[in-house]
């Protein structure tokens, strides 16, 4: 039943890069080698891990010894939020989050409020999904704030956040800044030194690496308690045998993403603009969510008035075009996105939203196939649309 078609769901996960596969295969084929073992195969695995650590560090302007490998972005966010809360005494556990953070941050903060005595304060966003700095400035409690979390760019609408300014507000209150950079680490990229980021969450598979591996960049001097205890790997912050092959794939993907960063931005932006203009012609009244000019160059979130995203996605899937409703619940159903609601959209509007995202393998043909499929879907659903208008 699989139809060869166009993949426009890079924000969900990107196809594995050839470089990543090439880096992983030797480690998957070779005899068992624990990167902690004191023998030749162990040293070889460890060398691959350390190469990857340097590559990941280079991607975000960190020192290699600041990279803590995790099972992915979710674990990185959880380690940052819970680890920072637990590193502070009771009474100093205020957590400030933007309203559009990923659920890995929001739900970890909610856990900390429920089970670890934290107080969560949420900074609102404007209609474009950008955190309101005036509100954010007032939220951290000086001396009693464990963490401020503002993501680099939103995963649903692509809005790039004022991370450096957020870091200044965090630091003024004596708190570290967590920047979830899962979606933005490739393009436009972050620089932890330049932006004043203390903790940065990364996921390999969004960069074209494998799933199941990510990292939390922990800047020197940032207080953090571990969540996983055991063998004491990753300087005691994340116990567990390192998945050397996956980490090597992560490193190779990071290196490839860094190498192409300068030209990837304009290339993706041109593709996205072509997509946006084509969709606007196909669906009169289409609205762009987020920041129509800035924002992640490869991400386009649109509202198709009168068209339920579940219906459009089915028709697109039938024509081999893969994209997303932006957010999904545990059952897989599209749910009204907390990001769009925070931006002031209502629930019916949120259910008319489609997220199309591009990346390293995207070409004009993919964009054109998506535009044609959306045009077809809009035509098919025209009677429904007329009825709901």
């Amino acid at each position: 039943m699989t139809v060869p078609g166009a993949y426009l769901d890079y924000a969900a996960t990107a196809p594995l890069r050839a470089e990543a596969l090439a880096a992983m295969l030797p480690l998957l084929r070779r005899p068992a080698a624990n990167a902690s073992s004191q023998h030749a195969p162990g040293r070889a695995a460890r060398a691959a891990v350390e190469t990857a650590r340097e590559q990941v560090a280079a991607l975000v302007g960190a020192h290699p010894d600041e990279v803590v490998f995790t099972s992915g972005g979710t674990e990185a966010d959880n380690l940052a939020v819970k680890g920072a809360v637990l590193a502070r005494p009771a009474g100093a556990r205020t957590v400030v989050v933007s309203a559009v953070e990923h659920h890995a941050v929001l739900d970890a903060a909610a856990w900390a409020a429920q089970d670890a005595g934290a107080v969560v304060r949420t900074a609102p966003v404007d209609g474009g999904g950008r955190v309101r700095l005036d509100a954010l400035a007032a939220l951290p409690v000086p001396g009693a704030t464990a963490l401020v979390a503002v993501m680099a760019a939103n995963n649903e609408v692509g809005t790039v956040q004022p991370v450096a300014a957020a870091a200044e507000h965090a630091h003024a209150a004596g708190a570290p800044l967590l920047c979830d950079a899962v979606q933005a680490a490739g393009v436009p990229g972050i620089d932890v030194g330049r932006d004043g980021i203390d903790l940065a969450a990364l996921a390999a598979h969004k960069l074209g690496g494998p799933t199941g591996v990510g990292a939390l960049v922990v800047r020197r001097g940032t207080g953090l308690r571990p969540l996983l205890h055991g063998g004491g790997q990753e300087r005691g912050l994340r116990s567990g045998t390192l998945p050397a092959a996956a980490i090597a794939g992560f490193g190779a993907a990071a290196a490839a993403a860094l190498a192409e960063r300068a030209q990837a931005g304009p290339r993706l932006r041109a593709l996205r603009d072509r997509l946006r203009d084509g969709l606007a012609r196909a669906v009169p009244g289409m609205e762009v969510n987020g920041d129509p000019d800035g924002g992640l160059p490869g991400l386009l979130s649109v509202r198709l008035p009168g068209l339920r995203n579940e219906d459009v996605l089915l028709l697109l899937d039938r024509r081999g075009v893969a994209c997303s409703a932006g957010s999904a619940c545990a059952s897989g159903a599209a749910s009204a996105s907390h990001v769009l609601l925070a931006m002031g959209r209502d629930e019916p509007q949120a259910r008319q939203t489609l997220r199309l995202s591009l990346g390293h393998g995207s070409a004009e043909a993919d964009v054109d196939a998506a535009v044609a499929a959306v045009a077809h879907a809009a035509g098919q659903l025209a009677p429904v649309r007329a009825g709901s208008a």
Partner: protein, 357 residues
Amino acid sequence: MTAAGNPPRRVLVAMSGGVDSSTAAALLVRAGWDVTGVHLKLAGTPAAEQVQGRGCCTLADADDARRVAATLGVPFYVWDLTDRFRQAVVEDFAAEYERGRTPNPCARCNERVKVAGLLERALALGFDALATGHYARVAGGRLLRAADAAKDQSYVLYMLGPAQLAHLELPLGGLAKPEVRALAAELGLRTAAKPESHDVCFIPDGDTAGWLERRLGRRPGTVVDPAGRVLGHHRGAYRYTVGQRRGLGVSAPGPRYVLSIQPATGTVVVGDREQLAIRVVVLERTSSTDGAGLRRGRAAVRLRAHGSEMGCEVRPGPGGRVRLELDEPVGAVAPGQAGVLYDGDVVLGGGTVTATA
């Protein structure tokens, strides 16, 4: 199924994750249809509150349906219809109890969400038909009972009209439940041995009275005999249904039954079995499966999903109301239930019981 050269016809199958709809999907694939599965998220019960294996619309059910679709190699989607379900079924369920009636949420769901609502959407999406795992048959544009009388579910589909029946596929209508289980096992469907679900799906613990009390609050009232003598007190009239015998909280020499519920005063009237008997049933919001309206004449009526049937005279009245004069007196007909009319195996149509005499 398809003429040579024509593309296969497209059917959307509502897949609950149970054995019936799983097998229905498999039979359609086998028959050459271009099948797409959809699981409807209806009850908004948070995952953490879901009771394993109880009710429907649990995460496990969505996973089962997804797994079956993968086994069959068909596309599969989960659609969130929690809003529509809450308004059309859940709110209606509570409101009906509040009015002193006993609703049938499955009929309501089929009417507003699961069959009629989904069919409309399927056609808009370019499907030729909608299929479900209901035990009933469609033939010659009419709705018929299932071949397996014990499993027959035509009762909850009575509200469908000709435009809907023309696009409805019910692959299980000619099969008996053991055959369906055997087919499911033969097809390797992992839902083959799954137990039946009988509960109201949005009340996973099965405690309808408790659910209503949380929703409507305590509304104390009296239990009286037909002469108005107070026999006892209760926490809410919605805890009772006409014909109910147990849990009345009154002491009386013989068994007592709920005769009627007066929602305005919260009074529950009880009496003995003979006083329960009625010979006239009035239906409202009636519809007929041929679209021409229910006609005057003889029919058999079923007043409960698993009840027996009896002969009656059908007397259509103004405003879509239909009066049924029963051949024999019957006991315990609760307002709010569906009354469904049959001519042999053919479902003529039906409506909601609004009054009895």
